[in-house]
Symmetry: C2
Subunit: 437 residues, 2 copies
């Protein structure tokens, strides 16, 4: 049997079983709808993202393109994309490759170009200049609409460089991931760039198990089959009507605390390399439930503000506020037992190290986390705990699937559309006006 993520919804929970059950029943019809979506295996509804991890045609397409484009010369993947087009990949990449400053000389590096930054663009330029052959580089352009301003600007900048250096050959090293029928796809066809599509109903923030996430991760050498199977295992649990459905339980607790007057959701990772995973979740929550209108069109200006904390760093920065300040946050502690031995020596130099002598770093971190949880319990601050045995593709797949299901349940409980982001257009139209001059 596969190992699963562990959840503790009891410790730190101050709601009664009755309150929880009442909310659970509101979601049962939603579960039936999702089961029907899962049964078809098709991409007909916004919820169809749940079918991605078990889509064998998708897996074949991604594997075939990976085999075709990846060769022993490949050093750098330029990933041009922002928001839903890169946050999932970045989350997995940072979690598994460690923090940016780690030496990864022997690995294929993904170089992310998201916003427009001359600093980042010039660094990309230096990589192109240094490359001895076109095969050292692959350029992935990811944009659902095909017209995201930052992605287009970065692409034009980079394409001019690649084209200048390698001429027609540059076109063989470009892959586009976009909606079928976008302008970008049309141009890609004309230029013979490779094309992968995102199923139309799947939104950016739910697309990590589509080609958007799978292709760059496969190219960079991660085991996407484990990533997918983690998601599949979790989907099963999250579509069940049992009391152990973790996505449902988590959604209910976030919902109940929101209505109790807690407008902030604090996801508190005790592994610093998961900060980007937090940023992926931040988009998922920010866009999915931050809404001007509810499902019946009434103006509600609803939403929960997600924040990311990193242990133990933020214990020296934010925990004074968390413990002493207003009771306006619901917290999820996430901890994965640290891998890779690092130990305080038996014979220590400093007197203040007496308690630490001979202890492993994982043991120290675990004691810190338990100290924090005890302080939360004493102050009756609400929290849930999530943990798993190691940071790997399999568990990341589980966690991301869990969070996406949690979010659509939460949207249902809040009576909002989990899949749109209409307010974003407000600034975009202004920006366009300015660019038009």
């Amino acid at each position: 049997m596969s190992k699963k993520i562990s959840f503790d919804f009891r410790d730190g929970n101050f709601f009664s079983q009755e309150e929880i059950t009442a909310s659970r029943e509101k979601i049962y019809s939603h579960l039936d709808e999702l089961l029907a979506v899962a049964k078809t295996g098709l991409y007909e509804k916004k919820e169809s993202f749940i079918n991605l991890p078990q889509d064998s045609r998708l897996t074949e397409t991604v594997s075939a393109l990976t085999a075709k484009k990846k060769n022993s010369h490949l050093r750098t993947i330029f990933l041009l994309g922002i928001g839903g087009s890169n946050l999932g990949t970045l989350a997995v990449y940072d979690a598994l490759r460690g923090q940016n400053f780690f030496s990864d000389e022997n690995n294929i590096r993904i170089f992310f170009l998201d916003t427009v930054s001359p600093l980042v663009a010039r660094e990309a330029e230096a990589i192109v200049k240094k490359a001895r052959e076109a095969d050292e580089i692959l350029t992935l352009v990811i944009s659902k609409s095909g017209s995201t301003t930052e992605t287009v600007a970065n692409f034009e900048f980079l394409y001019a460089l690649l084209n200048k250096k390698w001429g027609e050959k540059a076109n063989e090293r470009i892959i586009v991931i976009t909606d079928s029928g976008s302008n970008l796809e049309e141009k890609a066809r004309a230029k013979n760039w490779e094309i992968l599509n995102i199923p139309a109903p799947v939104g950016g923030r739910y697309s990590v198990f589509s080609a958007v996430g799978l292709l760059p991760l496969a190219l960079a050498g991660f085991d996407i089959s484990k990533f997918q199977s983690g998601a599949a295992v979790m989907l099963n649990d999250c579509l069940s009507k049992s009391e152990d459905n973790p996505a449902l339980m988590s959604a209910i607790l976030i919902f109940l605390h929101f209505y109790k007057g807690l407008p902030i959701n604090n996801i508190f990772f005790f592994n610093p390399e998961l900060e980007s995973l937090g940023k992926w979740y931040r988009q998922l929550m920010g866009e999915s439930i931050g809404k001007e209108k509810n499902l019946t069109g009434e103006i509600v200006n609803i939403g929960i503000t997600p924040m990311i904390s990193i242990g133990s760093v933020d214990l020296h920065s934010m925990v004074q506020l968390y413990l002493g300040g207003p009771r306006d946050k619901f917290t999820s502690f996430v901890y994965i037992h640290q891998q890779g031995l690092a130990q305080v020596p038996t014979k220590t130099a400093l007197a203040s190290a007496s308690l630490l002598a001979n202890k492993d770093f994982a043991e120290i971190m675990s004691a810190i986390l338990e100290g924090v949880k005890t302080a939360y319990r004493e102050r009756k601050l609400p929290f849930i705990s999530v943990s798993w045995p190691e940071i790997s593709e399999f568990y990341l797949g589980q966690f991301m699937q869990f969070k996406m299901l949690e979010m659509i349940f939460l949207a249902r409980l809040l009576n909002v559309n989990a899949f749109d982001q209409p307010s974003v257009e407000e600034y975009k139209k202004e920006t366009k006006k300015i660019l038009k001059g």
Copy 2:
């Protein structure tokens, strides 16, 4: 005349002049106290951090130690410290050195060890193993109390490696920055490690202009005299009773919005390399005004939750919530005109690039920011704007001084102690119990 940071407190402000004036007058006695502190130039009060940037003895000490320990072989500075001991340095380092993934082969790199992480510890170990001589490395141990768990654990791990490789010579490459009289200082004296002190009343989150920030920045090659002079210029403006006092104006607007029901403060940088500066500010606000008790000892559980946003990345992640969701945030936009030309070519490949052709990235980013501000204005969401012409030591010094003054004014308006963090002890005592077994 020196150039200064520009502030716009009018655009995005929905309070009347009367409301602002009433708050301003509450702070005038505080300004008198601060002027008295500035006049002494001494370190007798918690507010004495304002005297650091003009402390010529401190400058001499830091410069002398830099000259003594920095040589042409130096490649890596291990900075062991967490919270107030490293966030200020990290803020300046990331702002000026660009994001972590930039190639900085010719620079001296600061390697930060904050929390306990086997991944990071092993990377540090690899650097020690690779070094050919002791002079390539300097180890800075920064802890005000001298007994911070994570810093002590990291130090013991690293010291064992350094000692094994270089024996007694390792002791010549260790510098300790701590309070006078700490256990760490005592040990440092016995081992002949270099020692710098932090003036006792200066707290960690107000210590960036003490040796805590100045020494690592000077060693890494930054111009600390410009950093200090920026702070000095700003101090002058922030101690004035004029309507243009930026720290006072900013504190008043944050305060008024908090009492109007906005519990979240959103600092929104449009330069991604300033994210660590945001994290420094997050600690400053989280610890300085997140308090269980007010100055008269009543339980108030007060505080404003700081959050960091990054433009344009978070426009594709959080702005749906900001525009459509609850009106619970007060925003500070911070934008520095991007340096270093990167341009979209005149002849573009994609149809969607038509508006971008021949435009510089800075122009595009500026149009995006203006689009966002217009959307905020239309929704009457409150904000202030801060900008300056380039990211440099001088302007970072101004900004950090401005924010520290803003925070002590804000604490005064909220009637809390800006300098303590009593609730932090709650988890620490639990962690100690667990470590004792």
